[in-house]
Symmetry: C2
Subunit: 506 residues, 2 copies
Amino acid sequence: MFDPYSQCATRRGLPKEKMSENGIMSRAKVLTIDTMNPTVKKVEYAVRGPIVQRAVELERELSEGMKKPFAEVIKANIGDAHAMGQQPITFFRQVLALCSYPELLSDSTFPEDAKSRACRILQSCGGNSMGAYSASQGIDSVRQDVARYIERRDGGVACDPDNIYLTTGASDGIVTMLKLLVCGEGTTRTGVMIPIPQYPLYSAALAELGAVQIDYFLNEEKCWSLDITELQRAVNEARQYCNPRALCIINPGNPTGQVQSRQCIEDVIRFAAKERLFLMADEVYQDNVYAEGCQFHSFKKVLFEMGPEYAETVELASFHSTSKCYMGECGFRGGYMEIINMDDEVKDQLTKLLSVRLCPPVPGQALMDLVVNPPQPGEPSYGSFIKERTATLSALAEKAKLTEQVLNTVQGISCNPVQGAMYSFPRITIPEKAVKEATEKGQQPDMFYCMKMLEETGICLVPGSGFGQKDGTYHFRMTILPPTDKLKILLNKVKEFHQRFTQQYS
Amino acid sequence: MFDPYSQCATRRGLPKEKMSENGIMSRAKVLTIDTMNPTVKKVEYAVRGPIVQRAVELERELSEGMKKPFAEVIKANIGDAHAMGQQPITFFRQVLALCSYPELLSDSTFPEDAKSRACRILQSCGGNSMGAYSASQGIDSVRQDVARYIERRDGGVACDPDNIYLTTGASDGIVTMLKLLVCGEGTTRTGVMIPIPQYPLYSAALAELGAVQIDYFLNEEKCWSLDITELQRAVNEARQYCNPRALCIINPGNPTGQVQSRQCIEDVIRFAAKERLFLMADEVYQDNVYAEGCQFHSFKKVLFEMGPEYAETVELASFHSTSKCYMGECGFRGGYMEIINMDDEVKDQLTKLLSVRLCPPVPGQALMDLVVNPPQPGEPSYGSFIKERTATLSALAEKAKLTEQVLNTVQGISCNPVQGAMYSFPRITIPEKAVKEATEKGQQPDMFYCMKMLEETGICLVPGSGFGQKDGTYHFRMTILPPTDKLKILLNKVKEFHQRFTQQYS
C-alpha cells in the first residue's frame, strides 16, 4: 500500500479520507497556519500575488491546448526587461563569460577591454575565481569602482568606498537597513514613512519586521509629486502611536513614475533633519528618466550641496541595482547601497549582520562593477556599448510617451506622464455595479478588474490596491517594457477591455 | 571650510572637537548602538568574526611592506575551496559561460553536451536570458532536475519537484525555514534544538529571530556522535522555559566532521516524531565523506524507508548547496531545499514570503542544475568531469587523514577522525596561565590562543568558542582545504606554535 518510490506519496499528503481511516496518520503537523510566524502571515506582495499565479496557470492551460480568448499571456506586472525581449548589453555578458570560464581570455574574438575588465575582477576574487566567497561587504575593487561612479554621477561630490556595501539586488539592502532600524514596543515601536502608492517590498518588509508603516500620500493631481505638508501631517499623526525613525523615498517613483525636482529633494532633506528621520533613498531607476525638463538628482549630491549642517548630520542610505535602468539584469541579483553619516558602531553591527549570509552573489557583484565602470571613450567596446544603451533608453522614452498618450484616449482612464522608471500607474473609473460585484466576492474592485482583464485578454497587470491608493480611487500598474509593436497591441487591448468592462457594468 | 568634494567629509564624520565647537553639528544620530534593533546586536558569527578582521588587516600590512614573522596569511577559517586554489569543474564553467554569452553557442571549441545543457537552462529563462527574474521558487526545469537527482541519490525514493525550493546558498533556506517556525512569547516562545558544536549560522539566525536556542551536545569521546539520550535531556529541560518545535542536524557535521550512521538517523527521526519536532537536515556536505565504513544517508531516504507512520507525518526540510562537496562554488550562492510533509497552507505562505525577494540568483540556479545533472556516461564531457571530481574528492580524503594524523602527534592536541565535511575540530589543552591571561583580557581562552597563532604564524583559524563547546574544553576549527603541500606546512606550523605556546605558559 505505502510505496516510497511512488510520486504520489510526497504529493500534498494522502487524501483526507485515507488519513482519518489510518490511526497513525492522525499526528498533527508541527507547523500549521495557526502555529507559524504571525508576522510572516501579514506579509503581502502584490507584484507576485494571486493575479500572477493565475497568469502562470493560464500559461500552462494554453500550453496544454486549452482554448482561451487570447493566444498568449503578456506579463506586464513586473519590471523584468529581458523577459520582455530586451537584449543584454554585449560587453557585460562578454566579461561575465570571461570571468566564468577564464580559458576564454586567450580567445581572440573577445575585445581587449572585456578581457582587461575580466582580469581586474578575477584578480580581486579569492583564487582568481568567482566561485570564492567575497568579503561580506563586497569585493574591494568593485566597491572602489562604485565610489568613483558615484563621484562622477554627483559632479565630484566625494564618495568613500568604505561606505559602499554590495547587496543581493536592492531589495536585500533595503530590508537590511530596515532591520537595523526596528526597535521598541507599543507606542515606541519604530515607524517608517513610505509613499503611497509604494513598491510593496516596503510594506512586506515592515510587516515581517513588525515595524509600523506610516503612509504619506503622493499627490496624483500634481503628477504624483511629493508634498512636504503631507509628510508633516503623516509624521505628526504617527507620533501619537509610534516612533517615526525613517523616511523612504522612491525616486524615480515606482509605481508612479514621477521624477523629483532638486527643490523637492532639498525640502525632504530639511524635513528629515528637522524631524530626525533616517533617510532611505531608493534610486534604482536613476537612469530611467524620460520626460523633458526632468533630471535625476541623487539625494547624496543634494545633501552634500546643502552644506555641513546637513551633509555632516543627516543619515542617508541610497540603493541601486543591476536590475533596472538600461541593463535590466534582474536575474543576477546585483546591487549596492551607499551609507552616509552612519554611526560607526552601527556600521560594525551592519558588517557583522551581513557576514552571517557570507556574501552577495559574486556574478552579481561583477555585473554591478561593469554597470558602474562601463567601456570608456577610446576603448574598443565603447561604440557598441553606447549604441546599445542609447537604443534601450530611447525606446523606453518612446514607450513611456506612447503609454501615456494611448491610455489618456480612453474614457475612464487617466494617466499621469511617465516621467521616469518603467511603469504607468493610471487611474481607472470602475462602475458602481462592478464595485458592488467585487465587494460581494470579497475582492478589491481593481483586483476584480485586473483579474477579469487577465481572463479575457491574457494581459497580466497589478491592481493599484497592491501598492496602496487613496480610498475610493482605483489604479493598475503596467510596465512599459514590451517591445513597441507589442506594447501598441497591448494598449489597444487594455482600451477595448476597459470600454467593454465599463459598458458591461453601466 | 566644508568641502563636499573632499574624501574627508564622508570619512567617519569630523573629529569630536570640531563637532562640539559647531552648534549645528550637535544633532544626535537617529540610529545608534543604543537605538538599533536589539536582536541584531545579539547576533554573533565567528567564522567571519574579529579574528578574520585581524587577518585581513595583517594581509594589508604585509602588502604595505610591514615586517611580520610570516610571509603570508593562510585563511583556514572558512570552507572556501576556490580561494584555497581548488579549480572549478571545467564543464560547469563552460556551461555558465555559454549561458552568460549565448553567442558562444556557435563556438566549435565548446563540447556539445555543454551547449545542450546551456540551451536547456536558457530555454527555461524568461526571454532566454539569465538576466530575467525566475519564479520565486526557482526555475521549473532546475527543480525537476533536482528532484531526479534526489531520486537517484536515494535509490529511487520519489521526489516531487513541487517540494523543491531553490535558494541563495543553503544559509538562505535555513534562515527562511527558521523564520516560518518562530512564534509565541515567554515560555511558549519557539525553541530550536541545535548541535553543540554547531555552525554559527544557526545561533546567529535564532538570535536575530528572537527564538530560543536549545543546545544538545555531540559526544566528542565517541567521535562527535549524536546521542538520543542527550537529545531527550535537552528537550526535557527546554520544555520548562520554551516550546521546542524544531531539531537541526548537520550531517556530515560542521565543524565536527562526523558522519551519522543509518541507525542514528532512524533514531533521530523517531525522536522527532515522538517529541513533535520539525526536522531540519543540513546536508550540504553530502559528497564529502572520506572515512572507510562511513556512508552518507539522507534523512529523506531513511524517513521514507521507515514506512508510512513516519514517511507521511514527519515534517522535514533538507538543505543542499553549490558551495561545498567537490565543486566548492561558494561565490555563486546556489542551493536548494526539499520540504516533506509541510502543511499546504504553510507552503503557500513560504512561497509568498520568498516572492518578496523576487528570486534566487539565476547563475546560482544554473550551477545548481549542473551539480544535480552533471555529464552522463557517453557524453563528451563525462571523462573529464569524473576525472576532476575524483581528483578533488581523493585529495580531500587524503588531507582529512593527514590532518588527523599530524595533529594527533602533538602533545596537548587531540583530533577525532575527519570522517566527512571539510574541517578538523581538534581539542586543545590550554595551560592555566594562558587561561588566566585570556580571562584578564576579557577574551575566551581559545580566542586568545587563535589570535596569538595568527599574529605569530599568519594562520587564521576559528576558536571553538565560536561554535560552542563543553565548558572548560577548548578547540579550534581548521579547514582541510589548502593544497596538500601547503597543508603540511600549515600543520607543522600549528604544531610548532602549540608547543611554543604550551612552553611559554607552563
